[in-house]
């Protein structure tokens, strides 16, 4: 089965800096990969989807890269704000194109 690991359970950064979160997987390369944000007591909220033939995807202050050789995705938040504090989850398509599986998650805290 796919093993999906996200770097460090918790990440603290200063406001205004760029936060970089890592998602590594071990087995097959998924056709696409997604990033979600989860706030306490809430369900995950979709942020970005990147497909295997895309190297980079951007949305406002967010940027995702997908390196199928390294089996890694990087998620960047530029000009971070305290409101960006949350848990961020990567999710990989499961091989059949239907279901997807979540990584371990990284808790981000942006310090004012």
């Amino acid at each position: 089965s796919q093993k999906i690991e996200q770097n460090s359970e918790a990440l603290n950064i200063q406001e205004g800096k760029t936060a970089t979160l890592t998602c590594n997987y071990t087995n097959y390369s998924p056709a696409y990969l997604q990033w979600y944000r989860q706030d306490p007591g809430r369900g995950p909220v979709f942020l970005l989807l990147i497909r295997e033939n895309e190297k980079e995807k951007r949305k406002e202050r967010l940027k995702v890269t997908f390196d199928t050789t390294l089996k890694q995705s990087l998620f960047h938040i530029t000009a971070s704000q305290p409101a960006d504090s949350a848990t961020y989850l990567c999710a990989l398509e499961g091989g059949t194109g239907n279901q997807f599986y979540f990584g371990t998650g990284t808790s981000l805290t942006v310090i004012p």
Partner: protein, 114 residues
């Protein structure tokens, strides 16, 4: 987008009993999934709810313990059967309009088994 209503939002149950969680979506969706999120952990996929047929369960999850129904394209239920304290968790319904696209999540059902 899709708006998902999950009921109940939370419950405290006695061990050995069963709880059925409902997931109602405001539009027809192709894909429906059930996840479990244990305290401080990430999400674990329980099963894919298939409309009109048996659900597809992930390794470690069985139909006798987690029976799932999906009578139409907007509704699904997950039952947690013969509960034990180890079943205490948040159970989340998730939907996607088609495969390979973003998923939407309900608020979750926080279950405590005593």
């Amino acid at each position: 987008s899709a708006v998902i209503s999950q009921k109940p939002s939370r419950d405290i149950c006695q061990r050995g009993t069963s709880l059925t969680i409902q997931c109602q979506v405001d539009s027809q969706v192709t894909m429906m999934f059930w996840y479990r999120q244990q305290p401080g952990q990430s999400l674990t996929l329980i099963a894919t709810a298939n409309q009109g047929s048996e659900a597809t369960y992930e390794s470690g999850f069985v139909i006798d313990k987690f029976p799932i129904s999906r009578p139409n394209l907007t509704f699904s239920t997950l039952t947690v059967s013969n509960m034990s304290p180890e079943d205490s968790s948040i159970y989340l319904c998730s939907v996607a309009h088609v495969a390979n696209t973003e998923a939407f999540f309900g608020q979750g059902t926080r279950l405590t088994v005593v």
